[in-house]
C-alpha cells in the first residue's frame, strides 16, 4: 500500500478477527480508512465485507454469539474498549442500510428523530436541520410540500435518500453504506452516486458494493475481500488498472463473483 503520511486516518484497524460462534467470518484484517475519502469494500457474497462494515459502528453487538478480537481505533480510541461510549460512536459513525428503512413516520419526523434522541428540542433548529439535510441529499425540492406525509409513500430511491438525510441530521463524521443502491433502479442509483462525491467533501464514507463499476466510479480507495480476508487495499484507480493480486484481477474483470 502507498504511504499516505499527510492523510488523516479516521479508522485504524489492526489484526481484526470476528467469529459468529465458532465460525470465523473475518481474519486478521489490517486496514486504514482515511478522512474525507470514499473507501469501497468489494468482494463476492459472503466474503465478510458487510460484517466488517458493521464492526465500525458496533452494529454486530446486536447479534448474539459474535466475538471480536483485535483493534479498531476510531480517532485513536479503541472502540471495543470496555467502557467505550457506543451511543457516541454511532452518533459520529452513521449508517445507511441495503434496504431503505425509513421509520413509519412522516418525512419530517424521520429526519428529526436523531437530533431529538440526542436532546435537540428547539423547533427552529429542527426545521433548519430538516431543510439542510434534505437539500444535501437533493430531496428538498421533491418533498418540501409534503414533509408531514408518511415517509413510506416515497419511492425506493427517495426513501434511500431520506435515510441518508436522516443519518446526516445527527452530524456524523463517517457514513457507512451497506450496498445502498442494490435495491434501486439505475436512475435512482445514479442520483445517489452523484451525491457521494459531494458528501465526501464533508464526511468520510465507507461503502460496501457489489457493483464493480460503482466502486470504480465513486471511490478513492478500494479494499478487496475474499473469504473473510482483505486480499488487497489500494488506491482505486491503481487497483482497477493494475491489481497486484491475481484473484483481485479475476474478480474485477468478472471472472468470478
Amino acid at each position: 500500500m502507498e504511504i499516505r503520511e499527510n492523510e488523516e486516518k479516521k479508522f485504524d484497524i489492526k489484526g481484526l478477527d470476528l467469529y459468529y460462534g465458532k465460525f470465523q467470518a473475518l481474519e486478521k484484517i489490517d486496514m486504514d480508512i482515511y478522512a474525507n475519502k470514499i473507501t469501497a469494500l468489494i468482494g463476492p457474497s459472503g466474503c465478510g465485507k458487510s460484517t466488517f462494515l458493521r464492526t465500525l459502528n458496533r452494529m454486530n453487538d446486536l447479534i448474539p454469539g459474535v466475538t471480536i478480537e483485535g483493534d479498531i481505533r476510531f480517532d485513536d480510541e479503541n472502540i471495543y474498549e470496555k467502557d467505550y461510549d457506543v451511543i457516541n460512536l454511532r452518533k459520529k459513525v452513521g449508517m445507511v442500510f441495503q434496504k431503505a428503512n425509513p421509520f413509519p413516520k412522516t418525512i419530517y419526523e424521520n429526519i428529526v428523530y436523531g437530533p431529538r434522541v440526542h436532546g435537540e428540542k428547539n423547533k427552529e433548529i429542527l426545521d433548519h436541520i430538516v431543510e439542510r439535510t434534505l437539500k444535501e441529499v437533493a430531496l428538498w425540492e421533491e418533498v418540501k410540500d409534503r414533509l408531514n406525509k408518511s415517509a413510506l409513500g416515497l419511492s425506493g430511491g427517495q426513501q434511500q435518500r431520506l435515510c441518508i438525510a436522516r443519518c446526516l441530521a445527527v452530524e456524523p463524521e463517517v457514513i457507512l453504506m451497506d450496498e445502498p443502491t442494490s435495491a434501486l433502479d439505475p436512475v435512482a442509483t445514479s442520483k445517489i452516486e452523484g451525491l457521494l462525491g459531494e458528501l465526501a467533501l464533508k464526511y468520510t464514507i465507507v461503502i460496501v458494493t457489489h457493483n464493480m463499476q460503482q466502486a470504480g466510479r465513486v471511490s478513492d480507495n478500494t479494499a478487496f475481500f475474499l473469504s473473510g480476508k482483505v486480499l488487497e487495499v489500494d488506491n482505486t484507480a491503481q487497483m482497477f488498472s493494475n491489481p497486484r493480486n491475481s484473484k483481485t484481477e479475476d474478480y474485477i474483470t468478472g471472472r468470478f463473483g
Partner: protein, 275 residues
C-alpha cells in the same frame, strides 16, 4: 371418484360447516335479543334493582361492570406491555425465560373459578381488600394478563429488525428505540390484546363471584362491593328470580360487548390508516 366431484363434495362440506357455525351464532344472539330486548326500557337502564332484582333496573350493575373492567384494564395494560417488551426485546432465550413463558400460557388456560378462588384467598382475605371492586379488578387483571402479553408480543415480533437497526445506528439507546419507534408500531396489536382481555373480563362470572361481593348498591369507591352484569345474570337465572330481567340483562350484555368491539375496531382501523 373423479377430481371434479371430489372437489364439489369438499366444497359442499366446507360451506355447510361454516353455515352451521354462523347459524348457531345467529340463533343464540337472535334468541337472546328477541327475549331480552322488550325488557330493556329506560326504567331498566336508569333505576336500581329492587326485590333482589325482580323489579327495577340494573344501573348500579352496569356501572359496577364497567368499573371492574376498567380497573382490570388500567392495571393490566402497563404490566402486560412491560412483560411483553421484556420477553421480546430484552430477555435471551434461556431456560428460565422459557419456563416463565410456559407458565404464562398455562395461566391462559386455567378455569376462571380458580382465579376466583385465588383472588378470594389473596386479595379479599390476605391483603384485606374485602369483597370489592378492587379485589375483583385485580383478579381479572391476572386473568387477562396472558392474553395481553401474548398479543403484544406477537405484534412486537412483526416490527421489522430494520427499524431497530435504523434507530440504534443513529445513536439512540435501546430504551429510546423501544419507546419512540417500536411501541408506536404496536399500538393496534396492544389494542387487540386489550379488546380480547376486555371481552373476557366483562363477561366473567366465576372469577368475580368470589371477589366482588355481589352487592346491588352503587359502588362509590374502589373498596365497595359491587356486582357485574354477568354475575347478576347468573344470580337471576340460578335463583329463578325473574325471567324477563334475566333476558334483558343478557341482551344488554351482548349489546355492550358489541358496542365496545365496534369502537375498538374503529380505533384500531384508524391507527393502521395513520401509520
Amino acid at each position: 371418484m373423479n377430481k371434479k366431484s371430489k372437489n364439489a363434495i369438499f366444497y359442499a362440506i366446507i360451506v355447510s360447516l361454516s353455515a352451521l357455525a354462523l347459524i348457531s351464532l345467529i340463533l343464540i344472539v337472535g334468541f337472546i335479543l328477541i327475549k331480552g330486548l322488550p325488557g330493556i326500557t329506560t326504567e331498566f337502564l336508569s333505576q336500581s334493582p329492587s326485590k333482589m332484582g325482580k323489579e327495577g333496573g340494573i344501573l348500579p350493575i352496569i356501572i359496577g361492570t364497567l368499573y371492574v373492567t376498567l380497573v382490570a384494564l388500567v392495571i393490566a395494560t402497563p404490566i402486560g406491555v412491560a412483560a411483553a417488551i421484556y420477553f421480546n426485546e430484552y430477555s435471551k432465550d434461556t431456560r428460565s425465560v422459557r419456563m416463565i413463558r410456559f407458565f404464562t400460557e398455562v395461566l391462559a388456560g386455567i378455569p376462571s373459578i380458580i382465579f376466583g378462588l385465588f383472588g378470594f384467598a389473596f386479595f379479599v382475605v390476605f391483603m384485606g381488600l374485602g369483597w370489592s371492586v378492587l379485589s375483583g379488578g385485580l383478579t381479572l387483571t391476572i386473568m387477562i394478563l396472558p392474553t395481553l402479553i401474548r398479543a403484544t408480543e406477537e405484534s412486537l415480533k412483526t416490527v421489522p429488525m430494520s427499524y431497530r437497526e435504523g434507530s440504534l445506528s443513529l445513536g439512540a439507546t435501546k430504551w429510546q428505540t423501544i419507546v419512540k419507534v417500536i411501541l408506536p408500531c404496536c399500538k393496534s396489536g396492544v389494542l387487540t390484546g386489550l379488546i380480547l382481555g376486555m371481552g373476557r373480563a366483562i363477561g366473567e362470572t366465576a372469577a368475580v363471584m368470589l371477589t366482588i361481593g355481589g352487592s346491588m348498591r352503587m359502588a362509590e369507591s374502589l373498596l365497595d362491593p359491587t356486582r357485574t352484569m354477568a354475575l347478576h345474570l347468573y344470580m337471576l337465572a340460578s335463583e329463578g328470580i325473574s325471567e324477563e330481567k334475566t333476558y334483558a340483562t343478557a341482551a344488554l350484555l351482548i349489546i355492550i360487548v358489541l358496542i365496545i368491539n365496534t369502537i375498538a375496531n374503529e380505533i384500531s382501523r384508524r391507527m393502521i390508516k395513520l401509520s
